[in-house]
C-alpha cells in the first residue's frame, strides 16, 4: 500500500505532497532499519553458526514438525473463523446504529491492548472443566482447554481486530447506494452480496485474514496457558523456540524462528502481489 502511494508521489506529480521528502524518507528508512532490519539481521547472524545439514536437522526435527502442523492448522481455523465473524462485525459496526455501538467498536481493539498472557489465563479459566464455559461444554463431549481447539480459540481472540479493522474502512467508503442499486436492478440479497459487495471487500478481507493468520503463527503468551503443551499434540512452534532458548541454543531457536518468518513473509508477499493484480483487474474492467 505505502509503496503505491510513494510511486504516485514520486512519478505523477512533480510537486511532492510531503514537505521535506528527502528528510522524511531518510527518517523512515532509518526507522525501518533500526526496528525491522537490525533485529532480522541479528536473527540471521545467529544462523551463521549452523551448517545447512544442521539447520535442516533442527527444522525438520519430528517434534518441531508436529508443532508446525498444530500451529498452522489452528491458525488456519482461527483465520477462517475470524474472516467470517470479523466481516460480520465490521458490517454491523458500519451499516447499523444501535445503542452501545461505540462501546462495541472500542471493544474490538481490546485484544491489541490486553497483555496476551492475561488473555490466555482468562480463556483457560473460562474453558477448563471447572470454568463457566467448560462446565457447559464438557458434558457435550467438547473439550476446549488443553486441546488444539483451545489453541485456535486463543489465536482467534488475539487476531480478530486485524480482520475487523482492515474491512471496516473499506465498508465505510462503500456507499449504501451500491447494494441498493443491485437490489433495484433485480439481484437477490445473496447475489447482491456476492457480486457487488464482496468483490469490493475481497482485498481488505484477504489482507485482514492473512494478517490474522500470520499473527497467530507467532503468538505465544495467549496460547501457552490454554494449550496443555503435550508433546506432538498441543505443542506450538513458539514453544519449541522458547525451549531452545531455555537450553541456551540460540542458533536452534533462530533456525525454527526463521521457518515461521519465511512462511509469514511468503504469505504476506503473496497477498500483496495478488491484491495488486486483483485491484488492477477490478479497475481495468471499467476504466
Amino acid at each position: 500500500m505505502s509503496s503505491r502511494i510513494f510511486a504516485i508521489g514520486l512519478g505523477s506529480t512533480p510537486k511532492r505532497v510531503l514537505p521535506g521528502f528527502g528528510l522524511s524518507l531518510g527518517i523512515s528508512l532509518t526507522f525501518v532499519s533500526l526496528m525491522l532490519l537490525l533485529p532480522m539481521t541479528g536473527l540471521f547472524g545467529q544462523l551463521a553458526g549452523l551448517s545447512l545439514a544442521e539447520y535442516w536437522a533442527i527444522v525438520t526435527n519430528e517434534r518441531v514438525v508436529a508443532s508446525y502442523v498444530v500451529t498452522i492448522g489452528a491458525a488456519a481455523v482461527a483465520a477462517v473463523v475470524n474472516a467470517a465473524f470479523g466481516l460480520l462485525l465490521a458490517w454491523v459496526l458500519v451499516r447499523y446504529t444501535f445503542p452501545g455501538k461505540r462501546l462495541l467498536d472500542a471493544l474490538m481493539d481490546l485484544p491489541f491492548a490486553l497483555p496476551t498472557a492475561v488473555a490466555g489465563i482468562t480463556l483457560a479459566t473460562l474453558y477448563s472443566s471447572n470454568g463457566w464455559m467448560g462446565q457447559l461444554l464438557e458434558p457435550l463431549g467438547l473439550q476446549v482447554a488443553y486441546t488444539w481447539v483451545g489453541i485456535a480459540l486463543a489465536m482467534s481472540f488475539t487476531s480478530i481486530p486485524f480482520v475487523v479493522r482492515t474491512v471496516q474502512p473499506v465498508l465505510e467508503d462503500m456507499p449504501n447506494e451500491m447494494d441498493e442499486a443491485a437490489l433495484t436492478l433485480g439481484a437477490s440479497d445473496f447475489t447482491g452480496f456476492r457480486r457487488v459487495i464482496l468483490p469490493h471487500l475481497w482485498p481488505a478481507l484477504v489482507t485482514g485474514t492473512g494478517l490474522a493468520f500470520v499473527r497467530s503463527l507467532g503468538e505465544f503468551g495467549a496460547i501457552i496457558f490454554i494449550a496443555g503443551n503435550m508433546p506432538y499434540e498441543t505443542e506450538i512452534t513458539a514453544l519449541m523456540i522458547f525451549v531452545r532458548l531455555q537450553e541456551y541454543d540460540y542458533a536452534g531457536a533462530s533456525a525454527i524462528a526463521s521457518v515461521v518468518l519465511f512462511v509469514s513473509l511468503a504469505l504476506l508477499l503473496a497477498i500483496n502481489v495478488w491484491q495488486g493484480r486483483f485491484i488492477k483487474r477490478l479497475h481495468g474492467g471499467h476504466g
Binding site: 477448563s128 472443566s129 496457558f225 508433546p231 525451549v243 537450553e247
Partner: protein, 336 residues
C-alpha cells in the same frame, strides 16, 4: 502574602531534594538476580541484611532484586545485565555464567555446601485426605493417577521432578535400563498438562482442578498449602527423592565494576548466618545451620535424598543425555 511563603516552601523543598540526591547517589547498591518464586523470600531477608551491614560497618546500602525464570535471568546477565550476585534454583544456570567467565570457575568451592546456602527436595501436593492414596513415585504410574508438574524442557523445577522419578526407578529396578525406560514412559504419559513454569503448574492444579497430584519443590508445595488452605491439601514427601540445591555466586566482573565486591560477598555469606537460615526455614527451605535444623526438625520429614550426580553423572551430562534435543526425554515422549 501567601504566595511568597508558598514559594519559599517550594524552594526549600527543591533545595532539600538537591541536597538529598547526591547523598542517595553515593549509597552503594547491589543487584541480586534471582529465580521467579523467591520474591517474598528476599523481600524478607534483604532488610535484615541492610540492618546487619549498617550495624557492622555504619554504611547505608540498598539491595535491588530482579526475578524471573532462572535461565532467562542468566541469559540477561550474559547479555550485559550488571547483577552483582545471583541466587538461583539451578546449578546449570550459574555454570553457564562460570563458562562465560562471569563467575569464578571454582564457584562451588567459594562458599560452604557447594555454594548452596539452603536446599529443598521434590515433594507432592495431593487433594484433601489423599483420595488416590499417593505415597511414593510408584503410585504415580498407576492407570488412575494424573499429575501436574512443569515441563522439564522449560523448567528447572520440572527437571528435578523428572530426575527424581528416574532416580527412584533406578533403585527400584536395580539399574535395568529397559524397565527404567518403561517406568518413565508411563510416568510421562500420566501428566495432565505441561505448564512452562512452576507457577503455571500450580494454577492448573489449584484453580483448574487438573490432576490428582502436583509435583514441585517441597518448599513450594508447603507454601501453596499454607496459601490455599491447609485443610484442602496435603503435602507428601516421598521416602526417596532428590537433592535440589539453590546455588549462589558473586558475578565478579560486575561487582568489581560496581565497587561492590565486599558487599556482594558479605551478602551471600549472610545467607548462611543463623538469622537468615531461620528465615529460610520459615519459607520451608531445608537449611544447614544446626541450631535451626533442630528447631524445625518436625517440619521436614526425613527422606533419602539422591544426588543428581548419582542419577545422571552431573548436571552437564543430565542436560545433554536427558534434556537436550533428541535426548532421552524426547525419546521417551516419542509417539508410538
Amino acid at each position: 502574602m501567601r504566595l511568597p511563603s508558598l514559594r519559599r516552601t517550594l524552594i526549600a523543598a527543591a533545595l532539600g531534594l538537591g541536597l538529598a540526591a547526591p547523598a542517595m547517589a553515593a549509597e552503594r547498591e547491589i543487584l541480586n538476580s534471582s529465580y521467579d518464586i523467591a520474591r517474598e523470600l528476599f523481600a524478607a531477608i534483604n532488610p535484615e541484611f541492610r540492618n546487619h551491614w549498617q550495624a557492622e560497618h555504619g554504611e547505608q546500602i540498598g539491595i535491588q532484586q530482579s526475578h524471573g525464570g532462572s535461565s532467562a535471568q542468566a541469559r540477561a546477565i550474559l547479555q550485559g545485565l550488571r547483577a552483582d550476585v545471583v541466587t538461583y534454583n539451578q546449578v546449570t544456570d550459574v555454570q553457564v555464567l562460570a563458562d562465560a567467565g562471569l563467575v569464578a570457575e571454582d564457584w562451588q568451592e567459594k562458599l560452604p555446601n557447594n555454594a548452596s546456602p539452603y536446599y529443598s527436595t521434590t515433594a507432592f501436593l495431593v487433594r484433601k485426605d489423599n483420595p488416590k492414596g499417593i505415597e511414593s513415585w510408584d503410585d504415580l504410574v498407576r492407570e488412575d493417577v494424573r499429575m501436574v508438574f512443569p515441563n522439564p524442557k522449560t523448567s528447572g523445577n520440572g527437571r528435578y521432578t523428572y530426575l527424581a522419578a528416574w532416580g527412584f526407578a533406578q533403585q527400584q529396578f536395580d539399574g535395568d535400563e529397559e524397565q527404567i525406560h518403561d517406568f518413565m514412559r508411563t510416568f510421562l504419559r500420566n501428566v495432565a498438562v505441561f505448564d512452562t513454569g512452576g507457577r503455571g503448574a500450580t494454577t492448573s492444579f489449584i484453580e483448574r482442578g487438573l490432576g490428582d497430584v502436583l509435583i514441585s519443590f517441597e518448599s513450594e508445595v508447603n507454601n501453596i498449602r499454607q496459601e490455599y488452605g491447609t485443610d484442602d491439601y496435603e503435602v507428601i514427601v516421598p521416602p526417596v527423592s532428590i537433592l535440589a540445591e539453590f546455588p549462589v555466586a558473586v558475578v565478579e566482573p560486575n561487582a568489581e565494576r560496581n565497587g561492590n565486591l565486599d558487599l556482594a560477598q558479605a551478602y551471600l555469606e549472610y545467607l548462611y548466618s543463623e538469622e537468615a537460615q531461620r528465615q529460610l526455614a520459615g519459607f520451608n527451605y531445608r537449611v544447614h545451620h544446626e541450631t535451626v535444623v533442630e528447631e524445625f526438625a518436625d517440619q521436614f520429614p526425613e527422606t533419602e535424598l539422591l544426588l543428581v550426580e548419582d542419577i545422571a553423572g552431573s548436571w552437564e551430562e543430565a542436560m545433554e543425555t536427558h534434556f537436550g534435543s533428541g535426548g532421552l526425554l524426547d525419546q521417551l515422549q516419542r509417539r508410538r
